[in-house]
Every structure is written in C-alpha cells, then in structure tokens.
C-alpha cells in the first residue's frame, strides 16, 4: 500500500483532490507543509477528508500545524498527528511513497 504525500493547500491546488480520487482503500495520505490545512475541522474540505477516513488512513505533520497557528484541538477526528519521526516510520511502513506535487 502506498503512502501518498500532499504538501499543498486544497484551497489553492488540486493535489489533495487528485490524491483522494486516485488512492486505493487502505492506503495512507500524509499531509505536510501547506497540505496541513486540509486536516482542520470546519473548512469546505472537511467533509471530503472525513469521507476519505472511512477507507484510508490520514496523517498530519504537527510541526507544520504549529507553525501555521492551527490548533490541534480542531484537527478532524480520526486523523493521526505525527512529528518528523512519525513521518519516517510511516515511510518505512508503507510499501512506497507517492508525492502529489
């Protein structure tokens, strides 16, 4: 199973949308850099991300959330918060990594 990385804001670019459309059930979606905004509750993207959680794992990089002032209390339920060490573990855990640039 692939670990898909998304580093772009879903409001600005189509990377997250394409990633969700083209990733298999059981795969992982890793949000970093400006991609972390997709992890927040209350946005126009929250429903799509919540739906993705029904058959995929979604992760968000906490240092990128903190830099951007995003409160971890407002991260969508079910998204796993990890630091860089956790990012490394995930890359090792999944069979390969696919970046949606």
């Amino acid at each position: 199973m692939l670990l898909h990385t998304v580093n772009k804001s879903p409001f600005e670019k189509n990377a997250l949308e394409s990633c969700l459309n083209l990733s298999k059930a059981g795969s992982g979606v890793f949000l970093l850099e400006d991609g972390v905004y997709a992890a927040m509750k209350g946005t126009v993207w929250a429903d799509k991300v919540t739906t993705a959680l029904s058959d995929k794992k979604v992760y968000v990089l906490t240092p990128d959330l903190a830099a951007r002032g995003m409160n971890t209390d407002n991260v969508i339920d079910g998204i796993e918060m990890v630091d860089y060490a956790g990012f490394v573990d995930l890359v090792a855990e999944y069979s390969a990594t696919q970046a949606w640039l």
Partner: protein
C-alpha cells in the same frame, strides 16, 4: 520622492511557510511604508492564513523556520493600517476574525484611539477597493 500619492495594493493569496511569498511580501510592505503612498493590503484565498493567530516555530523543535508573524503587529507603527481580509476566504476555511491576530493602530485623527487594522470585507467591497488601485503588487 515626488508630490503625487498613488494607491498601492499588496495582494496576498498564499499561505505562510510553505512558500516564501508571505515573508518577502511583508519585507516590501515595510520598505514601502517609507514612501508615503496610500497603502492597502489585501488577504485573499490562502493569504488569510498569514494573519492566523498563535503561529509557533522554534529552531530545534518544529519546522526550523522563523516565526515572522509578529512583524504584522508592527505594521500599525509604520502607518500601514488598512488590512482587508476577504470574508468568503475566511468562511471557506472555517475561520473568523477571532482566529486572526488582533492587529491595531493608533488613529492620529481621532486622539490616537486604538483601532483594528484588520477589516473583514465582502467580495463586492474588496472588488471595489481593488479597482481603485494605481499599483498592485502580487505575491
């Protein structure tokens, strides 16, 4: 420089940290403040995230980049007092003005009363403000 005052707008549409545009845009604003022009900043789309409160970075724990958000708080002292924030951009991101930094300036025409610099505006208002500009610097 010369007698004429032009309307300068800085259009910010990108999130901070992911790219350098927000930071380097702010550097232009600070330098530009010395030129006594009529300055406005617009925060549209992901640009509204530039003003998010509680931005936190530390060199050894975190993304390893400098938190430059305190600089926005200095804008009032540079007489940069018109920060227009697109309401629809805020709403699409589940944000309200309470999630943004409380930026203020002292109004010299009103006995130095402290007033908010951030002005949340509708699309229609923002469209009208943009259309009046002489120079638009986009980031």
């Amino acid at each position: 420089m010369e007698g004429d005052v032009k309307k300068f707008m800085y259009l910010n549409r990108k999130a901070p940290y992911g790219t350098v545009y927000a930071l380097e845009s702010l550097e232009v604003v600070l330098i530009g403040a010395a030129f006594d022009q009529d300055v406005s900043l617009a925060f549209v789309d992901d640009g509204v995230y530039q003003l998010a409160n509680n931005q936190t970075t530390t060199p050894n724990d975190g993304i390893g980049m400098k938190n430059f958000s305190p600089t926005y708080k200095a804008l009032g002292d540079y007489d940069v007092t018109k920060l227009y924030v697109d309401q629809e951009s805020l709403e699409a991101r589940g944000l309200s003005v309470d999630d943004l930094m409380p930026l203020t300036y002292e109004d010299e025409d009103d006995d130095w009363a402290e007033k908010p610099s951030i002005r949340v505006v509708s699309r229609e208002e923002l469209t009208n403000i943009m259309d009046e500009q002489d120079v638009v610097l986009s980031f």
